[in-house]
Subunit: 227 residues, 2 copies
């Protein structure tokens, strides 16, 4: 009988130390732009561990819609850096005068400094026309792909590797650089490399861009707006 | 000089044991529908730790667009269960005959069984009209919110708590139940509770719905399709 093979097993408990390690990864993870160590490549087996962590993210209908495009060439990084710069100039112009100087002073990417760039994509056609769990929210495949990003980010933190997410780029330019087919969405473009130092709290907070919100003010009971 | 306060500090290294704990959470995390323990509530301080983990997710422009709606009442759970059932009947009808019987045999939610339901939402207006990093991809706030979901999911695993993501519900019905304003998107509706047992691999794989893909086939070099 096939059913015997689908019985759950004892959930492996976490010790207090193991639990604290998970929280350590969560609380000390940073979006890295400037701290990548020059001249220290990420070995293939370590990169494979990070991608394996990403591949074990939850996905709607077990769709596993992700692909991983590993970019190491100076040529591709240069194209990406140029695309970022164009978009960042456009972005800076959108901020009011009193914010623009601060915006322009922020370093928002580590494309060239990071030994590895990685684009995590979502193939929207992967599960066929009807995907379990996606029937009422078509974008859950994109959400699954983001879960893969966060898995990789936390695994990287545990490996001593920093990750930065570059979102300031025109979609059409990124698609052209990576030669993406139309049914594939570039969800995250990541810069990846070893780090010795990190900011103690998010860099945008330290530089006075925006403060951390009070958690209690974000929690409601039973329905929206009910404290 | 303000700059001295924004210097990075030594990145706290992870020991081999700490690193393995992070991977343990990633690899043993499951989407839980049936294993919630009856009669074991989640204490408020434990729930607060999970929400704190979610609140420390990366967010575009440090926007922190999330809110957390904690649902414990039988009334709200019953409304949600009814909304799920209606949507699930619609979903079942979309599958071809040979898949429909298997689909209908799957348990896809633990709304009533889980002591806590939690909706994690995205307030698209939170950062004002121009958000750093969102100028070229408006949906990065939704992605940030999903990062919060995955942080919570992994923290929950470390706490011995299971999480299941219910995505089969009409958006309009969920919005009405939770009284969401138009500018707020319900990104994830989660069922949360203690578990003693979990499946060794994803339930949809065990039940023959879909197999895990070969990771190597998902990795490309430099651009799409380049193995």
């Amino acid at each position: 009988m096939h059913m015997s093979s689908v019985a759950p097993v004892a959930a492996s408990e976490f010790s207090a130390e193991e639990r604290e390690s998970v929280y350590k990864a969560i609380f000390t993870r940073r979006d890295v732009r400037s701290q990548f160590k020059a001249g220290k490549p990420v070995p293939d087996d370590v990169l494979k561990r990070l991608l394996t962590a990403a591949h074990h993210a939850p996905s709607v209908g077990f769709m596993q819609p992700w692909n991983f495009i590993v970019i190491k060439s100076v040529f591709q990084k240069t194209l990406m850096k140029m695309a970022f710069s164009r978009a960042n100039d456009e972005a800076a112009a959108l901020f009011p005068d009193e914010r623009r100087a601060l915006y322009s002073s922020l370093k928002l990417e580590g494309i060239s400094a990071a030994p590895i760039n990685l684009c995590i994509t979502c193939d929207r056609s992967r599960g066929g026309p009807v995907v379990l769990g996606r029937t009422h929210n078509y974008d859950t495949d994109l959400y699954s792909t983001v879960c893969a990003v966060q898995n990789l980010w936390l695994a990287a933190r545990a490996e001593g590797i920093g990750v930065g997410w570059v979102s300031i780029v025109r979609d059409a330019e990124l698609r052209k650089i990576l030669q993406l087919p139309d049914h594939v969405v570039p969800v995250a473009y990541l810069c990846i490399g070893y780090v010795d130092e990190l900011y103690a709290t998010p860099e945008l907070e330290l530089r006075g861009w925006r403060q951390r919100l009070d958690l209690d003010s974000l929690i409601f009971n039973e329905s929206w707006g009910n404290p």
